[in-house]
């Protein structure tokens, strides 16, 4: 009985963690789908979101004594703005450049963000204000509780995945984004402003990602520097689900969350602490070997 209960607890925690990961993963897929940029700095964006809340929320800025909830809102707005600025300043120069350049630029961007945070705010973890640490939880079967931040994560990720799918399917803007992702030149000929769509997808993506980062930090009681590791974990998720599929990213992230918790609880005592984060990496390598286009990804057909 208790065996089933612990398994259920591990399962629920993995589900919650996976839901939070799925927010970051969907942000990643959104960018890749529309702009073709493989963003290696996604984890750093999550880290940035998590740190911004910690920096804005306490009365660190004297003239801006923000209540905690407002800090979250401000962070999301900053995320949106950051998306616009990044597109304007950096990624516009790299439309049509080879894959290598884009990958290296995002890697460099990640380095800049982590280095900047480390330089200005240090590597120490920072506690979140008490108003952002909820003490409620959702009771489930076997006396297992779903932690508040995980519950929020599950709810938000479901909302986001449904909203994004509906957005792509039913709105005009969504179909414009789809048109851009399938053929940029043809869309341009038909009078679509590529710049605007790219700005839009970056802004939405970074906003979603920072929400994911904030929730991840909340589930740990405060932000820590290690959050950017999520950027590597979600690669396992998106490769598993297919690089350009939003529902695929969602499912992949849930699988990664579950694997991580199972690895931490059942396998780590055998092979060593921290194995939970390595298990998804092993899955990643296997998936790339066995079915490189994932569950829902579109297969690329090449010809001479």
């Amino acid at each position: 009985m208790s065996n089933i209960a612990t398994f259920f607890e591990v399962f629920v925690r993995g589900l919650g963690l996976g839901a939070i990961y799925s927010l970051v993963a969907m942000g990643f897929v959104l960018i890749y789908k529309v702009t073709g940029v493989l963003n290696f700095a996604q984890g750093q964006f999550a880290l940035l979101g998590a740190y911004l809340v910690a920096i804005l929320a306490p009365p660190a800025l004297i003239f801006l004594e923000l209540p905690a909830a407002l800090a979250v809102v401000v962070t999301i707005v900053v995320g949106l703005l950051l998306g616009v600025v990044l597109e304007r300043v950096i990624f516009r120069h790299f439309i049509g450049e080879p894959v290598l350049s884009v990958i290296i630029v995002t890697l460099a961007l990640g380095g800049i963000i982590t280095g900047g945070i480390q330089f200005f705010f240090g590597r120490d973890s920072r506690a979140y204000p008490a108003t952002l640490q909820f003490d409620w939880s959702v009771p489930l079967l076997f006396g297992v509780d779903l932690n508040a931040s995980f519950a929020l994560g599950v709810a938000l990720s479901l909302v986001v995945v449904l909203a994004l799918m509906a957005f792509f399917r039913y709105t005009v803007m969504g179909s414009i984004l789809r048109a851009c992702s399938s053929d940029q030149q043809a869309a341009m000929v038909l009078g679509v402003s590529i710049e605007r769509t790219i700005v839009l997808s970056w802004a939405i993506s970074i906003a979603i990602t920072s929400v994911g980062g904030i929730l991840l930090a909340m589930s740990q009681g405060g932000t820590s520097f290690g959050i950017y590791g999520v950027g590597i974990l979600i690669f396992a998720a998106v490769v598993f689900g297919g690089l350009d599929s939003i529902p695929g990213a969602f499912i992949g992230a849930i699988v990664v969350g579950l694997l991580q918790e199972v690895g931490d609880y059942y396998v780590a005592p055998v092979v060593g602490a921290g194995f939970g984060e390595v298990l998804p990496m092993l899955l990643l390598v296997v998936v790339i070997l066995v079915m490189p286009y994932g569950l829902f990804g579109t297969e690329r057909i090449e010809r001479l």
Partner: protein, 345 residues
């Protein structure tokens, strides 16, 4: 340099030293590396040694990325494997530095080939992601102290300062001797890479780089050649890792993080992909610049190491936006401008 090509044979055309001015430059420049240890001070000598070691690693990356066109993001992991192997060979087998370097290189080449296996079906960024996974796994593996001590011999280990090249004979200890070791190994690998680019092997690699589908149609075994590139490049990076461990004096996982990968990419891209001289230029410029920037920042702020990543990031974005072909191509353009000056038409 004459204003046309006056080669009369293929051997002349493909020669390493082709022009009279190059011959003169070669003869004049040859003594410089041998004189450096007697001219510059200790700190600078150590920086130059580090440059030589990094050149070897970036040359390895250059073979994989510049020749074969595979994006590998596991520089840190490859160097760590070479370093830990070298430490074990030196401290436990007592075999000396040269066997340590060779074994470190071979083991790294093996791991590189294993993680190159996905190139059987995928290419481009899928390879980038799978090697990033290797980086992640390797960092975890070396961080885990006790349990895997049988394999890697402990998370932190120190390398003896005084070391024999083979067994206990030919002992080297001082900074100057270290410098010469790094220089000779670097020179060997630079010439090897330079010559590699003139053989059929690298021509095959370049063909795969340009268009792997066409190369397959032309009868090239793409998968085997990609693995060969991984093996050659991995060997070089492993050797560099072994030398780096000896240079630092101990091994610690924090040296071999993703930041090292980023650093090597900055060096390679700044110099220009595809040419050995580009690698040498890029590594030297970045290392010297980094030394200057670090000194400059350390005077004003405490956490200068954090700024390194920011510095690399900014440099790489600017280079890629302004001159994606690198410093060497920019120099070539300047040279062309002056050759045609003042009538550039």
């Amino acid at each position: 340099m004459p204003c046309g090509e006056y080669f009369t044979s293929y051997e002349d055309r493909m020669g390493l030293v082709r022009w009279r001015i190059e011959r003169i430059a070669f003869v004049l420049a040859l003594p410089i590396p041998f004189l450096i240890p007697f001219v510059v001070s200790g700190g600078m000598l150590s920086t130059i040694t580090r440059i030589y070691i990094m050149i070897i690693a970036v040359l390895g990356l250059h073979v994989i990325l510049g020749y074969a066109g595979e994006i590998v993001l596991a520089q840190g992991a490859f160097m760590a494997i070479g370093a830990y192997t070298a430490v074990r060979v030196v401290t436990e087998l007592g075999a000396g530095m040269i066997p340590a370097m060779i074994l470190g290189g071979l083991l790294t080449a093996m791991v590189a080939v294993i993680f190159g296996l996905p190139s059987w079906r995928v290419k481009g960024f899928y390879i980038a992601i799978s090697t990033l996974a290797l980086q992640f796994i390797a960092e975890w593996f070396f961080e885990m102290g006790g349990r895997y001590e049988v394999i890697h011999g402990g998370t932190q280990q120190s390398m003896p300062r005084e070391i024999g090249l083979i067994g206990d004979s030919l002992t080297i200890a001082s900074r100057t001797e270290q410098y010469f070791l790094a220089f000779f190994v670097m020179a060997i690998f630079a010439i090897l890479t330079l010559n590699l680019s003139r053989t059929g092997i690298a021509r095959t690699f370049r063909g795969i780089h340009e268009n792997d589908l066409s190369s397959a149609v032309l009868g090239i075994d793409v998968f085997r050649n990609k693995l060969l590139a991984y093996a050659i490049g991995g060997f070089m990076i492993g050797v560099s890792g072994a030398l780096f461990a000896y240079y630092i004096g101990f091994v610690d996982p924090t040296h071999y993080t993703i930041d090292m990968t980023l650093e090597h990419y900055v060096m390679l891209l700044l110099g220009g992909i595809g040419r050995v001289w580009g690698v040498i230029t890029g590594v030297s410029v970045i290392s010297l610049l980094e030394r200057g920037v670090r000194d400059f920042i350390a005077a004003y702020a405490a956490d200068a190491a954090a700024i390194d990543a920011v510095f690399f990031g900014v440099v790489i974005i600017i280079v890629l936006a302004v001159e994606p072909k690198g410093l060497l191509a920019a120099l070539g353009q300047i040279k062309d401008y002056f050759r045609k000056w003042p009538y550039a038409y």
